[in-house]
């Protein structure tokens, strides 16, 4: 993928772009390894998949002028008899690994191809049989605990501030079923963080790192979907820790019981 200016912020490649390329890499992997496209997976196999977890780690600093081409290596494996898929994408430039994206993916059975309404169900056997032996884990692999451990550790810390920001899910944030796309999570939480960065509370100027410094990693858990035109509340808490600046975001429904739909943790490096 040749670099273009829209892929970058002044400090690094945009997280949204890495997630978007992850989706493209996933589609290509399906085509090359399982000989199935996303459309035929839905129309012929009544199968699709939703992203339930995101881990994006930036490994090396990379700015726009540092290289010309981004390369990606994609791996997909199945566990729990095809009820969970792990999609791992390694991004590199100039022969250096610059970022890794890991997506936890839940296969679903599409009940109706018009509305695309669906329910979690393991990948059809016909598709699972096309995986190589080393792409299927028989044992129950350990669930990623990093995010939960991070949240548990943060409970002992006092946030520097909290901010609530209303949002609307517009159609450009959605996929073909008018359901929000995981690709949009970094952009959805950005208004909450940026408002704090640009106007931090007194004595917490370090929080400006959320726009001035490199994002080191994003972890996200998606619990329930939003759909087009839904409204929500973004609750952002900012933490100043000895070695990093952390923003924790909860995306909640603006209606009914204010259900939590997703949690996102962004970690930024501290200015040298």
């Amino acid at each position: 993928m040749p670099f273009d200016t829209s892929m970058f912020s002044p400090v690094q490649i945009q997280p949204r772009r890495l997630l978007q390329l992850s989706m493209s890499g996933w589609a290509r992997w399906l085509s090359e390894h399982l000989s199935v496209s996303f459309p035929s997976m839905v129309s012929k196999h009544h199968a699709s998949a939703v992203v339930a977890g995101i881990e994006l780690e930036y490994l090396e600093p990379l700015r726009f002028l540092d290289a010309d081409i981004l390369q990606v290596r994609v791996g997909l494996s199945a566990r729990r008899e095809g009820s969970i898929l792990d999609l791992v994408l390694d991004y590199s430039a100039s022969a250096k690994s610059i970022a890794c994206v890991r997506l936890v993916v839940i296969p679903v059975h599409v009940e109706d191809v018009e509305s695309l309404s669906a329910l979690p169900q393991k990948l059809p056997d016909e598709l699972l049989a096309r995986f190589d032996a080393d792409e299927v884990a028989d044992e129950v692999a350990a669930e990623p605990r990093r995010m939960r451990e991070e949240l548990r550790a943060l409970r002992k810390e006092k946030p520097a501030c909290e901010r609530r920001t209303p949002f609307t899910i517009h159609r450009h944030m959605c996929e073909v079923a008018d359901q929000w796309s995981f690709i949009e999570l970094p952009g959805l939480v950005e208004p909450g963080r940026e408002a704090i960065c640009l106007d931090p509370p007194p004595r917490f100027d370090e929080l400006r790192a959320g726009v001035s410094q490199r994002l080191v990693r994003i972890d996200a858990e998606l619990r329930r979907p939003f759909f087009a035109f839904d409204t929500g509340i973004l609750v952002t808490r900012a933490y100043v820790l000895p070695s990093r600046i952390v923003y924790v975001h909860e995306l909640r429904s603006a209606r009914g019981r204010n259900h939590r739909h997703a949690t996102v943790i962004e970690q930024f490096e501290v200015a040298a």
């Binding site: 839905v42 199968a47 699709s48 998949a49 939703v50 679903v108 059975h109 599409v110 009940e111 109706d112 018009e114 509305s115 695309l116 309404s117 669906a118 329910l119 979690p120 899910i169 959605c174 996929e175 073909v176 079923a177 008018d178 359901q179 329930r224 979907p225 939003f226 759909f227 087009a228 035109f229 839904d230 009914g256 019981r257």
Partner: protein
């Protein structure tokens, strides 16, 4: 009664989220909804005419158990919310 649709189904109802009917039972309210929006029928109901598993019904905030009778009486101020659990896009 008031019937509210989820974002996932709005395209089958000309992007109208809320409908109000004088119906006296859940069943007649849903029938009115689908008579007004014929495209909703196959999206919301399976071949046996039951609500598809991916959609949940809430009445005044309480989830209706799957398999519950739709003959339940409802009044003018009762609110039926249809929630889509997940979509496979």
């Amino acid at each position: 009664m008031i019937i509210q649709l989820p974002g996932a189904l709005l395209r089958f109802a000309n992007y109208q989220r809320e409908f109000q009917y004088d119906s006296t039972t859940l069943k007649t309210g849903l029938d009115s909804l689908m008579a007004q929006n014929p495209a909703l029928k196959s999206a919301l109901l399976d071949r046996k005419g039951k609500i598809r598993s991916a959609h949940l019904l809430f009445i005044n905030g309480d989830q209706l158990d799957r398999g519950s009778s739709t003959d339940r009486a409802l009044g003018a101020h009762d609110c039926v919310e249809i929630v889509t659990a997940i979509a496979g896009g």
